[in-house]
C-alpha cells in the first residue's frame, strides 16, 4: 500500500465512525495536528491553575476554600491525563514540559487575563469552564481514542467546576450592592475573552475544514461559540446580571442569541504576548518547576535505594 491508499483507508475508517488508536497508521499531519491541539489543551489545564491558585488563601469561607482547592487539584490532574494522552503519539513528557517552560508552547489565551476579585474565581468556574465543557463535550466524539477517553473523564469533573462557579457568582449577585457590583464587573471583564476561547471565526480558521474531516474537531469554532452563548446568556439573566454587549439580541426566528462584534484584534494581541499576565504565568510555571525539583530528586533517590 502506498501512502495515498493508506490515507484513503484511514479516511474511510474515520467516516465509518471508527476510533483511531495509538499503534494505528495515521497521516503525519493528523498526528501533528493532534499533538498541537492536545498539548495546548494540557498546558491550558496546568496554566489554568494559576489565576485561581492566587485566591486559595483568600477564599472567604472554608466551604469555598475546599471547593477551590479540589478544583485546582482537578485541573492539574486534567493536565496529567492530557499529557499522558499526547505521549501516546510519540512525544515525550520532557519535550512537552520544556516547550511550555521555554515559552514555545501555546495555552488558552483566557489565562493571560488577571483574576482581580473573588468574583473572578466564580466566573472562571462558571463561564470559562462552562465554555470549556461545551468544547470538550464535542471532543468526546473525536476520532483519536486516547483523546476522546480523556475528554469523557474530564467532562465528568468539569461539571463540578462549573456548578460551584455559578453558585459562587449567584450568591454574590444576590448579596450587598458592593458584592453585586463585584459580580457584574467580573462578568463584564470575562465575557468577551470567554467568547474568544472558541478561537477565530470559521472564515479565519484555515485548518478547520481538514480538522473536521478528520474528526479531530467535531464542530466549528462558530458553532461551538453559538452553542455556548445560547446556554450562558439566560444564566447571566437568571441571576440578575447583564451581558456586557449592547449588540446582544434574541433572534426569535432561530431561537439563538446573536452577539455583537468580537474584537479579534485584542485576541491576536493577547496571543502574541500582549496580555496582562503572559509573562507572569510563564514565570510562575518556571518557578514551580524549579521549586519542585527536590521532590523529583527525592523520589528518584528513594526508588534507587529500594530493591526492585
Amino acid at each position: 500500500m502506498d501512502d495515498a491508499e493508506r490515507e484513503r483507508a484511514f479516511q474511510a475508517r474515520i467516516d465509518a465512525g471508527e476510533t483511531i488508536e495509538p499503534g494505528d497508521w495515521m497521516p503525519d499531519a493528523y498526528r501533528g495536528q493532534l499533538i498541537r491541539m492536545m498539548s495546548q489543551h494540557a498546558h491550558s489545564e496546568v496554566v489554568g491553575t494559576l489565576p485561581e491558585g492566587n485566591w486559595i488563601t483568600r477564599a472567604p469561607t472554608l466551604r469555598r476554600k475546599q471547593a477551590l482547592l479540589a478544583k485546582v487539584q482537578d485541573e492539574a490532574g486534567h493536565g496529567l491525563y492530557l499529557y499522558g494522552a499526547v505521549e501516546t503519539l510519540g512525544v515525550t513528557r520532557e519535550e512537552l514540559i520544556s516547550s511550555l517552560l521555554a515559552g514555545r508552547a501555546k495555552y488558552s489565551n483566557i489565562f493571560n487575563y488577571p483574576t482581580l476579585s473573588w468574583a473572578d474565581v466564580g466566573v472562571i468556574g462558571w463561564l470559562v469552564d462552562g465554555a470549556a465543557i461545551v468544547n470538550q463535550t464535542t471532543l468526546t466524539k473525536c476520532s483519536y481514542g486516547p483523546y476522546s477517553r480523556t475528554m469523557i473523564r474530564i467532562c465528568k469533573e468539569e461539571l463540578f467546576h462549573e456548578r460551584q462557579g455559578f453558585e459562587l457568582v449567584a450568591v454574590l449577585a444576590a448579596g450587598t450592592p458592593a458584592q453585586r457590583e463585584m459580580a457584574q464587573s467580573a462578568v463584564d471583564r470575562w465575557w468577551w475573552p470567554v467568547l474568544m476561547m472558541f478561537g477565530p471565526p470559521d472564515d479565519a480558521s484555515p485548518h478547520s475544514e481538514q480538522l473536521l474531516r478528520w474528526r479531530v474537531k467535531v464542530k466549528s469554532n462558530d458553532e461551538l461559540r453559538q452553542w455556548f452563548v445560547d446556554l450562558a446568556v439566560p444564566q447571566v439573566h437568571e441571576i440578575g446580571l447583564e451581558v456586557p454587549d449592547p449588540g446582544l439580541e434574541f433572534d426569535a426566528k432561530t431561537g439563538h442569541w446573536r452577539t455583537g462584534t468580537i474584537d479579534w484584534d485584542e485576541f491576536w494581541r493577547v496571543i502574541r504576548g500582549g496580555g496582562l499576565c503572559n509573562r507572569d504565568r510563564l514565570a510562575a510555571r518556571r518557578r514551580a518547576h524549579e521549586e519542585g525539583r527536590w521532590v523529583r530528586e527525592a523520589a528518584e533517590a528513594w526508588a534507587k535505594k529500594r530493591p526492585q
Binding site: E157, W302, Q308
Partner: protein, 99 residues
Amino acid sequence: MSPPTADSQWPLWEVFVQEKAGAPHEHAGSVHAPDGELALQAARDVYARRGPIASLWVVESERIVATTTADAASFLEPGPEKLYRHSRFYSGPKARKSK
C-alpha cells in the same frame, strides 16, 4: 534561567482502576514514576480523586504487549464459520425458552 532540560523522564506506567470489588479493572490512563510504589501513589492522586474505587493496578507500559488495529483483522478474526461455538447453534429445551 537555563531551560530545565536536565530532568529525567521516569518510566511510564499504565493505570487500571476497579470501581467496585468483583468488577473488572479498567484502563484509566498513565503516569510517570520511578518505581511501582510511587506509580501507585501518583495513580491514586490522578485517577482516584473521586470514589468509589476498590483497587488500583499499575504496570510498566513497556511490559504490555498489544495487537494493533491492522493486525486485529486477521489475528482476532472471530471465525464466523465456527457457529458451533455459540449456544444458539444448538436446540435447547423448550421449557427454558419460555422464560
